[in-house]
């Protein structure tokens, strides 16, 4: 084979096909390296639409089972990372040398961008391009405690918005404008019984949380990046009544779709509901009987072929 390939007749692949090939490169590292190939390659790879499509196809890829636990505390060597594959699960680390100084916890994640916290400040960090952005000092929020966090990516403006939820209000940090906006919630929200913060997940264009109000009923709420508002979303009809024995325990993103995880403690039944993309329609995805939830906090984290991995 070596001798045959000595002939260096370079292929004449036109730019539109080059773009298709580049869009299939799975590693962002290679893409960034190939910006050095030529000016036209650089402009293909830097194009916002190309970046968007690349992100989308890696989000939808069945191999997208790499997982960083939210609310993960780091060590000085890095943050733990788990990669689920069909036959094995691999524990790894996020590039230890490159964790920005002093940040010791991952609070939440959106499109590969992580919200980091240190003792005194918050920052956004993108490990795949090794880029960090300081957001805000914690003392700016001194008057209130944080119920939960979330990052939301606005596809239209390309803005990563970080949402901090307090009991009666919320603050939005726009990384495009470098600005902080505070708004009222109009109600009181708390984390649901037994869970900590860090449950906010970004999926299908919005960031979702489950929070409880003063009457301890649980709500599915979401942040809409178009209007900067936090609203409630209807749960599946079958799971709405107050005497329902299923309790909404957690949310997850499976293959790019929002999922609700319910648990019926008495009958030991767990159920996952899945929302269709783009519309508010719920479908029962899976029900397990005789399921003893390992922890109260357990949540489905990914699908590996036809199996659900529950943490």
């Amino acid at each position: 084979m070596a001798t045959e390939s000595e002939k260096t007749t370079p292929s004449n692949i036109p730019p539109e096909i080059i773009e298709i090939i580049l869009s299939k490169l799975s590693s962002v590292k290679s893409l960034l390296r190939f910006k050095s190939v030529s000016k036209s390659w650089n402009s293909i790879i830097s194009d916002p639409v190309f970046i968007q499509n690349h992100l989308q196809s890696s989000n939808n890829s069945p191999n997208n089972n790499i997982f960083v636990s939210s609310n993960t505390d780091g060590t000085d060597r890095g943050f733990p990372l788990v990669d689920f594959d069909v036959r094995k699960s691999d524990a790894g680390k996020i590039s230890e040398d490159n964790i920005p100084n002093g940040y010791n916890s991952i609070l939440c994640e959106c499109n590969g961008v992580l919200l980091l916290g240190s003792r005194v400040e918050y920052a956004l960090w993108n490990p795949s391009i090794r880029c960090e952005m300081f957001l805000i000092y914690k003392y700016e929020f001194h008057e209130d405690y944080i119920v939960d966090y979330g990052i939301c990516y606005d596809q239209i403006t390309g803005d990563f918005k970080v949402v901090f939820i307090f009991p009666t209000k919320y603050a939005i940090y726009s990384s495009n404008n470098n600005s902080l906006t505070k708004k009222n919630l109009g109600t009181n929200y708390h984390t649901i019984d037994g869970t900590g913060s860090g449950l906010g997940i970004f999926v299908d264009g919005a960031t979702y949380w489950i929070l409880s109000d003063d009457t301890i009923s649980t709500h599915l709420v979401y942040f809409d990046p178009r209007t900067d508002e936090i609203k409630r979303m209807q749960k599946p009809e079958q799971r709405q009544s107050d005497d329902d024995k299923f309790q909404l325990m957690n949310i997850a993103s499976l293959r790019g779709r929002l999922c609700l995880y319910f648990y019926n403690k008495k009958e030991r039944i767990a159920q996952i509901w899945m929302k269709e993309k783009g519309i508010d329609k719920w479908k029962e995805f899976i029900t397990f009987h005789n399921f003893e939830a390992p922890y109260k906090l357990s949540r489905p984290i990914c699908l590996v072929e036809n199996k659900v991995v529950i943490q």
């Binding site: 370079p10 096909i17 298709i20 299939k24 590292k29 190939v37 030529s38 036209s40």
Partner: protein, 163 residues
């Protein structure tokens, strides 16, 4: 024309270096380009494929026959494609991606472009320029600046032996 009843129709394809190939119509119409010609009734005689050479066309026909013999089972089709592409070198893959594009065969196009991407994954910038025939249009200063900006992406790159 004579296609109505049981007997499978065979098409004759001609490469740009004048090689002739016979292939079952049912397999050949995986190519939308060929299917359109058949539907327009231009497939009576020989179908000239001006952008594909004989060597590549032979390979594409092997693929057409192989994949259309597999029943509708995506897993099996995928493993056939993986196996079919596994021993192809870069030049062959490059010819095939051009042929798949010209013939408008989306399944082959997807598989070959993904394979090329996989081959490129750990390759150096120099390797890519050589294989794709790309002229470096950066000034030395510009090139150094782009490289410096993404310095870490050059760690762990394969050393430049062609293969």
């Amino acid at each position: 024309m004579a296609a109505e009843t049981g007997t499978p129709t065979t098409l004759t394809l001609k490469s740009n270096d004048d090689e002739l190939f016979s292939v079952a119509e049912s397999a050949a119409i995986l190519s939308v380009t060929i299917r359109n010609m058949v539907e327009d009734g231009c497939a009576g005689g020989v179908i000239p494929l001006d952008n594909v050479d004989g060597k590549t066309l032979a390979s594409v026909i092997t693929y057409m026959n192989g994949i259309s013999a597999i029943p509708a089972d995506e897993e099996k089709k995928k493993s056939y494609r993986d196996k079919f592409l596994s021993d192809k070198d870069f030049e062959t893959l490059a010819d095939m991606v051009l042929a798949a594009n010209y013939l408008n065969m989306s399944c082959l196009m997807d598989a070959v472009s993904a394979k090329i991407a996989q081959v490129m994954e750990k390759k150096s910038v120099g390797w890519v320029r050589r294989k794709f025939g790309i002229e470096n249009d950066y000034t030395p200063e510009e090139e150094a600046a782009v490289k410096e900006e993404h310095k870490w992406t050059f760690e762990g790159v394969e050393t430049d032996d062609d293969n």
